[in-house]
Structure formats: structure tokens, C-alpha cells
Symmetry: C2
Subunit: 390 residues, 2 copies
């Protein structure tokens, strides 16, 4: 086990009706906030009105900035930064899913910074200050509500890049599973793949003797595997929605990383897919992850055997452990199919003609390796993309 | 699943050599602290010297108060409160196990309070302010390093009572598994029972649809079951010690309580044993918990079946689930025996003559019920104590 520091100070307020507490939670930090959200969904389901009422009841003023798109864009982030500066705003309230929260985090680090906020995503600078961010979560997927991550897409070149720093962890996350009842099935499934990917990126490590966190990872994966099909069958099943929502936070608040080094190659590769083709991140992950697994499993067959037996209840083939390992990967792929996700680039609607370009971008034209379970260069990434074709 | 709020803001600094960071972590809060500890162990193993050096290097002054005993005493807490007031101290650094940390927390709430600090433990008052507390942990057991609990024994009547409030969660916990290499086997085993009890108190609930936290509980129990025998066999096995230490924190930082109502009757009963007879809390729990289980399992046989199959890998007896449930309780008892713990009052050295008195004290002379899985009155507590006799 590696030495580690773990601090996850986001206050989680979870359950039926908790969105009515947003005003009280927000006013602890500020009386004038940026209310940041996506499209019309939060208005259609009445959430917008409840949030606005709660803010007004608590005496919190707000300026609005809607319009966050999936794979949130740098241009809107810059608009948000200007808006905050103009109105002397010192708190961002994100009402939405991962895209809205990531956009809010980008605004939060951008406001106190004199340079271009993209510096933080391109790796040119590290943010030292951030406005506090609060969250009302609508989609269990990204885990951004309690994470130190933000991923933004720069339209200039369609680069999708991430920032990981402690100062952007939200102060609070208000999570009512009822709000997720109206999520379309495809979005529920994409969320599931995202949650599972967050766990699997951490699970596939060469670090020995991390059995406790292994088991916490397995617990989280099993929760998703059990409850997502229930939620798809019965969209208003509160209990299934609640299990998924709480698991999505724990999947990415870094508890599951403690003492170990994760991989994160599949995320890096997927960012090239959704950066160029604007596909849902979760759908991209459902395509990339099984291909990555097939490409790298020989690095540590035992770990894939553990994944197969403990997560998927595959019976151990003691005479042929590799068969057990492969069966685990197969079960994962079948699960993604069962919940309605694509598992090939073809199914995702991505043609073959820009695979080289994606491999280039992902590895900085072959000058950079990605991943830790197996270090991957440009050719490796290209091979994985080719394996994912159909 | 119940609505919940979860906030666990203790900064965990974990791994080899991390005690050298205590000065830097402490000076964020204060330049003059109370250094609170137990007996001579921390001096014998060199920890005291390393902590003192780190504090001095960071320019942190300290006043010392050693002498915390297992089942920490109110009289020493009162001495600590006086000392802090006299020297204008505004931070308590606890170097030790659960007893030292609990004592530090009691001092922390006592200093800013004009009345008797016991008011908070007797339920007469609720603390509104507390000095910040930091921890260098030496024993994985109580989970007090990241919990909102403190348990103190009042020598006047030998009442052992607990306080549970958010404001006493430590600011940081410095945890080096190497420090636990020299723990005597019996203390390691008592710690294991304490950790397992913290999980089991939460696990046995009537709350339905809490499968995610069930699985997190099972992951934690399996970690203890696997690693404690290794640590007993090889006291300097870093990896086993590390798994136990990290599991002990997660067992009691309230993650495993989210969305559910725990039981806590066994803890209440045990407090009467260690309050009167000054036995180690973990040893008392190893005696009480199996007896409690045998007394209450019929309330929800299915939950005990799940415990047996998922935690102890008991094969399900579909024709006779009750047999499976009982086998789980049996395996727990056998595990406690295997790691060298008493499982009867007789083995713990507690005679039969004061069982009535303990049942009285535990239930406030029969006026109060304890537990949630099954509400227990005075006669129930007496029955459990009688079942635990031999």
C-alpha cells in the first residue's frame, strides 16, 4: 500500500426533498451567487423553481448562466468568468450533472486568475485559488459533486482536457434520487458506465496488498450492476435510484484510490472520442474500456481473475485462469450491451478515418505515454482504437 | 434508504513515517497546544520523541498531559480542561489510541463550557463549541480518529457514557501502520473486535434497500477477518497492519451509517461491563455481541443469513435458512476465539453477581430501552448477560 492523504470534505445532503435546503446551505458562503445550469430539463421537472424559491427564501441573490452542454465548452466558461467579475460574485451554484459541475469548477478557478483559464487544463499553470462551488446534482455519473476533477472541451481544436486539484472540490452536494426518475434510459446507462469506469480505473493497479480498497471497489461495482437494470425497468424505483446515486459519489471522491495508483488510460482515450465526436462520455467509455482490457490483461492475469470472480461471480477455472479473466471482460461487455450501450466504435457512430489523429492527440504526437497498469504509447492507443472498431 | 447528511472532513495522512508531519499539520491551527497521551508506550517506541521534534521544528509550543488510562476517566479530563484554561491553549493533540482521543475530545468541549463537562455525557447539555483536536494514532480500534464519538468513564458511580456530536471530529489523523507493530497480540485482537463491532452495529438494521452500504460493511469486515490473523502471526507485516488501520477508520467515520439506522445495543451493554470491571472494550464486545445476536436474530433471519453467506462464506442452506443464520453467529464466535479473545463473561473474568445491577444501569432502572434492531428493556439486557455467562 502506498502512503496517501485523503480528505473529502464535501457535505453530502441526500434524500427526498433535500433540494429545498439549497438556500440555507448556500447562504453560509455567499449572498450573491452564479446560478449555473444546462438546458431546459431542470425547468421542465420543476427543479429550477424549487431552487430559486429556496435561494430567495434564504435571501440569496443570483445571476443566471444556463446553456452548459454535455462535454462542457471553454467559451461558456469564459462567459461565466466575465459574469462573476462584472457582478462581484464569489460563489458558483451548479444545478445539473457532471458537465454543469465541471463548468462551474472551471469558472471557479478562472475568476481569481489573471491569465487564460485554459492554462489550468493544458497544464501550463496550477490554480492556487478558487471560488467555492455548491451542487444540486441531477445525474449520477461523473462523480464531480465530490471530486477534485473538472473536464472542459476547448472548441479551438476540440481538445478535451482535465484538471485535478483539491481546491475545486464542492463545499456541498445536494442529492435527491427522485430528481433522477425522469432521466432517459440511455443517459442512465451512460451514467452507469461512467461510474463503473471511475471504479475500474482505480481497480486495475499493480499495487499489491490493497485488499480493503479492492473490496470497496467491488462493492461499488456490484451496486451498479444490480441496480441499474432495476432503474431501467422501473425508472421511479427510489431505492435503486438512491443506490446508484450514492455509489456514483463514492466511486469518484478518492476513497477508492487510497493507497493505490490508478490507471486512467481509458479515460484519456475516451476524451479524444468525445472531444472530436461529442458522444456521451459514458458511451465512449463503454466502447474503450473492454478494448483496453483485452489489450492489457496479460500484464496481470490474476487481477483480471479477481475482477471476474469477485465482481461478476465467474466460477474460477483453476486449470485455465486466463479463461476466467477473459470471461470477466466478456461479462462487462455483455452488461454494457444489456443496459443499451454501444460497445464498438461502429455502434457509437464513429468512423475509422480519424483513429490516427486521435492516437496522436492522446499521446501528444507520440511524445507522451498514458496509463499506469500498462504504459501506452501512440501505437498502443491506435491498436486499442482498432480493436474497438467493431 | 433514509435521508442522510454525511460529512467526514478529517484529513487522513497515512503511511510510513507520516508522524514527522505532525508539526506542520498542527501549526495550521495553533502555536500552543496540549500534548495529550497515555502511559509510557509512546516514549518506549520513540514516537514521543519524533512528535516532540516535529512540533519544535514547526515552532509549536506544548504543555503535556499524560496518564490517560483505558476507559478514560473524567477526573483527568477535568485536569486537562484546567490546564488548557490556565495556559490559554486552543488545540489538543492526542497521541495514542481511542482512549486518548476520546479524552482529548472531552477536554475540547469542556474548555469553552462554563458548566460541568459531564453534562455533555449525561445528556444534560449539548456542546456548541469545541477546541480543534488533532490525532497521531497508535491503535486501530476505536475509530475515534475520524469519528464524532467520545466515551468517558465517570469514576463517581463508574458510569461510562458517550457523546456524539459533529464538532468533535478531529481535524487531522496521522496514521503510520508501523507504529502498531509493537501492539501486544491481545490488544490487536481487542481492536479487531471493536472495529468489527462498529461495522456490525450499523449492519444489523431493519432498513431495507441499503445494499450499497451493506456491501461496504461486508468489505470492511472481510478485511479485518483476513488481516488480523496475519498481523497476529507476523506482527511486523506492514501490509496487514495497514489494511487493519485504514479499515478501522472507515468502520466508524459514518460512511457505513449513511441511509440507515444502526443498533448500538451491544455497545450500550458493553459499556456497563467495562465501566464496572475496567475490561478492554473490545474484549467486552467479543462477549456481548454473539450473545446479542443469538437473542435477537429471529427479528430478521434473512439479514443474519446475508451476514453468514456474504461475510463468512457460509453455504446457504435453502431448506433451513435459520441454520445458515446461526452458522454465521457461530463463525463470528469462533473467529473471536481464534484471535485469542474471551467469548463468555466467565472467560472475561466477570462474575455473575452484578448482572442485575448492569441491566439496571444500562436501562436507567428499566425506564429506557436500548437498541434499534430489537428494542431491549431491562429484562432483555439481563437475559443477554445471562446468555453470555459461559
Amino acid at each position: 500500500m502506498e502512503n496517501f492523504t485523503f480528505l473529502s470534505p464535501t457535505k453530502i445532503i441526500f434524500g427526498r426533498g433535500v433540494e429545498d435546503q439549497v438556500g440555507e446551505e448556500t447562504k453560509v458562503y455567499s449572498k450573491k451567487v452564479l446560478l449555473h445550469y444546462g438546458g431546459g430539463t431542470i425547468k421542465r421537472i420543476g427543479l429550477y423553481d424549487r431552487v430559486v424559491k429556496s435561494l430567495r427564501d434564504a435571501g440569496v441573490e443570483f445571476i443566471e448562466l444556463g446553456g452548459v452542454q454535455p462535454n462542457p465548452r471553454l467559451s461558456l466558461v469564459k462567459q461565466g468568468i466575465e459574469l462573476c467579475r462584472k457582478h462581484n460574485i464569489d460563489f458558483i451554484l451548479a444545478v445539473g450533472g457532471g458537465s454543469v459541475i465541471d463548468s462551474a469548477k472551471a469558472i471557479a478557478v478562472g475568476v481569481p486568475y489573471e491569465g487564460d483559464v485554459w492554462d489550468f487544463y493544458s497544464g501550463k499553470a496550477v490554480p492556487e485559488k478558487a471560488l467555492p462551488v455548491g451542487v444540486v446534482l441531477t445525474i449520477p455519473a461523473a462523480g464531480s459533486e465530490a471530486s477534485k476533477s473538472s473536464v472542459i472541451t476547448n472548441e479551438d481544436g476540440w481538445y478535451k482536457r482535465g484538471l485535478n486539484v483539491e481546491i475545486i472540490r464542492p463545499k456541498f452536494a445536494i442529492m435527491n434520487p427522485e430528481i433522477t426518475f425522469t432521466l432517459p434510459p440511455y443517459q442512465t446507462a451512460c451514467g452507469a458506465a461512467d461510474i463503473m469506469a471511475h471504479v475500474m480505473e482505480r481497480y486495475f493497479t499493480h499495487q499489491k496488498d490493497v485488499d480493503f480498497t479492492d473490496r470497496l471497489c467491488e462493492a461499488t461495482l456490484k451496486t451498479i450492476i444490480k441496480n441499474v437494470p432495476i432503474a431501467l425497468e422501473e425508472p421511479e424505483n427510489y431505492e435503486a435510484r438512491a443506490e446508484i446515486m450514492w455509489a456514483s459519489t463514492i466511486a469518484h471522491n478518492d476513497l477508492l484510490s487510497t493507497g493505490r495508483i490508478g490507471d486512467w488510460a481509458s479515460h484519456a482515450i475516451e476524451h479524444e472520442l468525445s472531444g472530436i465526436y461529442d458522444v456521451p462520455h459514458g458511451a465512449g467509455l463503454a466502447v474503450v474500456f473492454p478494448a483496453w482490457m483485452k489489450y492489457v490483461y496479460k500484464e496481470d492475469v490474476d487481477r483480471f481473475v479477481q475482477f471476474a470472480t469477485r465482481v461478476w461471480d465467474v466460477e474460477m477455472d483453476f486449470a485455465n485462469p486466463e479463461r476466467t479473466a477473459l470471461e470477466g471482460i466478456h461479462r462487462l461487455t455483455q452488461f454494457f450491451k444489456k443496459i443499451g450501450l454501444p460497445v464498438t466504435l461502429e455502434e457509437l457512430g464513429i468512423p475509422d478515418d480519424r483513429l490516427e489523429e486521435m492516437a496522436d492527440k492522446c499521446t501528444n504526437n507520440g511524445t507522451k505515454q498514458i496509463g499506469n497498469f500498462r504504459k501506452l504509447g501512440r501505437e498502443d492507443v491506435l491498436n486499442i482504437l482498432k480493436m474497438a472498431r467493431k
